[in-house]
């Protein structure tokens, strides 16, 4: 028999080394389906690397893709730290985006230094409300937030479709279900001319820093960690568990809302129902890969964005299905999760007990 016991002191080397090892193992394992798809492995990975580092354009594209993932990864991180299972970042992202186009397409007109903060604020509030509602149901009635947040995603998307066919529809949009474009003053500034990379990335990085600071240094973060790790003890020690859940929910939802603002006001300019190819859900993967560390979220978002963008380039260059990108991400997630398990636990062989 094999017994599994927690390691007493997981060393620093393990906690940093395991994810890196896991990523390498994942890339090796991903070679198998690539080979099965008939690709030359070496060629495939060269193309992939080119797709990420091959040019300024490639690199900035990758960072552009990482931006929403940093936001949604942070949203998942905060909520999950409190053991509040926010599966609704996708919906909160769209709520944020909807708020952004509601106020940003002509409701108010103001210079950039006013309009941009207003749009960001509106998006954050909207996302926060989107997470606060299911959390209220959880704390008040015990409704499972996994179910409510997940199902809210679909409700919000359908609501968005309705809005894009109705009040938010662009009259100049040739009948397409899309919103009016965000005013020039409301667009997040580009970072490099003629590249799509925008200042949403800066906001994401600042958010990561702030979340790190809050979680590790603030009383608020202390309470979130205590509630997440042992809610009965936190309650016993006088921490208001429900209020802590609500605090985590509001910040988590707000950051997910910012992901929507960043995409719509930084990248697209107008809102459609395909704004996010599942950034909210991928954010969960990002957060888990990062071991729920806010700084780790930045790294894992860049890693996942690299694989997506790189695999995209690769699939176009050598003609294999772009679904292989999803496969690589999935394989690396499994590897990192197994790696994390190995880092935390050790396996002990026990001999059968004889009389």
């Amino acid at each position: 028999m094999i017994r599994i016991e927690p390691r007493e002191m997981p060393s620093k080397w393990w906690t940093v080394g395991i994810p890196i090892m896991s990523a390498l193992v994942a890339i090796l394992l991903a070679a198998i389906p690539l080979a099965l798809a008939g690709a030359n492995i070496f060629e495939a990975y060269t193309q992939m690397a080119k797709g990420i580092f091959g040019s300024t354009f490639a690199f900035t594209e990758m960072l552009t893709r990482a931006t929403p993932l940093i936001f949604t990864g942070l949203a998942a991180t905060i909520a999950f730290r409190a053991k509040l299972w926010n599966i609704g970042a996708e919906g909160q992202l769209y709520l944020g985006a909807m708020a952004a186009v509601t106020v940003g397409t002509g409701l108010i007109d103001a210079p950039s230094f006013i309009l941009i903060p207003v749009i960001l604020f509106a998006g954050a509030i909207s996302g926060a409300v989107g997470m606060a509602a299911p959390t209220y149901l959880k704390t008040r009635f015990g409704a499972d937030e996994v179910v409510t947040t997940l199902l809210l995603n679909f409700i919000i998307i359908i609501f968005l479709q309705m809005m894009l066919e109705g009040p938010l529809k662009d009259p100049m949009g040739m009948g397409w279900p899309q919103s009016e474009p965000i005013l020039e003053n409301g667009i997040l500034p580009q970072l490099i001319p003629r590249m799509r990379i925008h200042s949403g990335l800066i906001i994401a990085l600042i958010s990561a820093g702030l979340v790190h600071l809050l979680l590790s240094k603030s009383i608020w973060g202390f309470k979130i960690r205590a509630v997440g790790e042992n809610a009965p003890a936190a309650l016993h020690a006088g921490i208001n568990v429900n209020r802590t859940f609500m605090g985590a929910a509001v910040v988590s939802g707000a950051i997910a809302g910012l992901a929507g603002v960043s995409e719509v006001a930084g990248l697209r300019g107008y809102l459609t129902t395909d704004l996010s190819p599942g950034f909210g859900y991928t954010g969960i993967v990002v957060a888990m890969l990062a071991g729920l560390s806010p700084i780790g979220v930045v790294i894992s978002a860049i890693f996942i964005a690299s694989i997506f963008v790189g695999a995209d380039t690769m699939s176009r260059a050598i003609g294999v299905s772009s679904y292989l990108a999803d496969l690589v991400v999935a394989i690396s997630l499994i590897c990192v999760l197994i790696g994390g398990f190995v880092a935390r636990y050790r396996f002990i062989r026990t001999n059968k007990v004889n009389a």
Partner: protein
């Protein structure tokens, strides 16, 4: 009664860390007899039974069971399957039935091979009907278990064991959940089962039942068998004395002048999970410079009382006064700010956040204090200094202040909690099972701190199942039984033991 031995536990010992759960226990069981196993909580009954069932591996000793060939055979230790094969069965206090299946299915559950082609249910049914015939354990075989009464469910559990052809049946507090009538019926059934050749080990706290229908009584205390007596030679007083021991209190605490009332309960009622665990119109007063001990078998309302004073639940009626002021709003935070220090019963579950550091756990109750919280941010230097001082002062041993609290031993976790509680200089202290599972050193430390707090004017409510601890530390003792508190007249162990078992004195 035939005098064939069916089971013999020889010199069984089991230690958990520095705590001795069982020390060289010897018990014999004969065919067709009912042996009562008595002892306070923590006396080692459960550990002993867990070794019998192979859940725990004894540190030393052996178990012999009568084999089918009539010879005593050594049981393979630490293997539940071996114990089952040897014909040892158990009916737990909490039933293990699938509510959505019928009685018949529940009895068959686990006795069929996973990949069997088909189940010969008629054969099984006939076998069960025969058992019912012999023992009088009636149960509606085609009814769903969810629709059964508690007494019926228990009979199903016993039928299940008999269906598996047990020769030795352990009943863990079987009457705790039964009405007196159901209990009487159960005893009749057991009577006919033992005539049939079954041997029963009966675990109970209720002295009257034990006397009424067992053949022999074995008493455990502090992990050792302290006595064995034929029921015909026993009476309640003799057993109570065996259970609680006779040694005199070592260091009787000095009398000190009581101060003003500091914690008062007036006609307080709180609903628990059942009648037994609810508080019923409770009145008591604790004064400054006083330790009041609550003795009792667990599950008689202690946890509701502790939750109330911790601020985790509201009373349904009645008043709770601290320093003469009526408490209106119940919350852990509110109780803390009224000067109530709380040592929780389950120190791992309610006491510390295992994944957070020792230093963080030391300030978790003081997050509003200025030296911990400056504009919403943690004062890490102050928190570290606080931790350095406290691990020195309270002798908390472990890998260091930044290590996770879960890495500390049970005794050191308790010292961490003591440090947290006593550093706030509470006026009222709730100590719920403060020494459970601790070694002597840590237990003495707890006692020293409680007495010190008493000396400086605090009132202490000490809830414990360890009567020795209560006798040693308390100025006054109350016994809790079925949610009612009765004050004892003096520190007579025998009387307290009887009161704990629900006898009216």
């Amino acid at each position: 009664m035939k005098n064939t031995q069916v089971l013999s536990l020889k010199n069984l010992s089991k230690r958990f860390g520095s705590v001795v759960a069982n020390n060289s226990v010897n018990i014999e069981l004969y065919r067709g007899e009912v042996l009562s196993l008595l002892g306070e909580n923590g006396a080692g009954k459960t550990t002993l039974m867990n070794m019998l069932f192979g859940h725990y591996l004894p540190d030393s000793g052996s178990i012999d069971v009568l084999g089918n060939d009539g010879q005593m055979r050594k049981l393979v230790l630490g293997h539940p399957q071996a114990s089952l094969d040897a014909g040892i069965g158990m009916v737990h206090q909490h039933f293990t039935l699938a509510e959505n299946l019928t009685v018949l299915d529940n009895i068959l559950l686990g006795s069929e091979k996973l990949w069997a082609w088909r189940h010969d249910r008629n054969k099984a049914r006939n076998k069960i009907l025969k058992i019912i015939d012999r023992t009088g354990l009636s149960a509606p075989l085609d009814e769903k278990v969810a629709r059964l009464t508690v007494g019926e469910r228990q009979r199903v559990e016993i039928l299940k064991a008999l269906y598996h052809e047990v020769k030795i049946l352990v009943l863990d507090e079987p009457t705790a959940v039964l009405t007196p009538q159901e209990a009487d019926a159960l005893f009749e059934n057991i009577d006919s089962m033992t005539k049939d050749g079954l041997s029963v080990i009966f675990i109970s706290h209720k002295l009257r039942e034990v006397l009424k229908f067992s053949n022999r009584i074995a008493v455990l205390r502090h992990g050792e068998k302290v006595g064995e007596i034929a029921t015909s030679d026993a009476n309640e007083r003799v057993i109570a004395r065996m259970m609680v021991g006779e040694e005199t209190i070592k260091n009787p605490i000095d009398k000190i002048q009581l101060g003003n009332p500091i914690l008062q309960l007036n006609e307080v009622s709180v609903k628990g999970d059942s009648m037994r665990t609810s508080l019923n119109r409770t009145n008591f007063t604790i004064h400054e410079n006083e330790i009041v001990g609550i003795a009792g078998v667990s599950g008689n309302g202690q946890s509701v009382l502790a939750k109330l004073i911790s601020g985790l639940i509201d009373p349904d009626s009645g008043d709770l006064l601290i320093e003469g002021e009526n408490v209106e709003y119940f919350s852990p935070n509110g109780m803390q700010s009224l000067g109530v220090g709380r040592i929780p019963e389950d120190r791992h579950h309610d006491g510390v956040v295992g994944a957070m550091s020792v230093a963080e756990n030391l300030v978790i109750e003081r997050l509003q204090d200025k030296d911990v919280n400056k504009n919403g941010f943690l004062q890490n230097r102050a928190i570290k200094e606080n931790a350095e001082t406290l691990i020195e002062k309270y002798d908390i041993r472990g890998p260091g202040i930044d290590a996770k609290a879960s890495l500390l031993s049970g005794g050191n976790i308790q010292k961490l909690i003591l440090a947290r509680v006593f550093e706030c200089k509470p006026n009222v202290i709730l100590a719920n099972q403060p020494t459970r599972g601790l070694d002597l050193g840590a237990a003495n430390e707890v006692a020293r701190h409680l007495l010190e707090a008493r000396g400086r004017g605090a009132g202490v409510l000490l809830i414990s199942e360890d009567l020795d601890e209560i006798l040693a530390l308390s100025d006054r003792i109350m016994v809790i039984h079925n949610g009612s508190l009765i004050e004892t007249v003096n520190k007579d162990r025998e009387v307290i033991g009887l009161m704990m078992a629900g006898e009216k004195i």
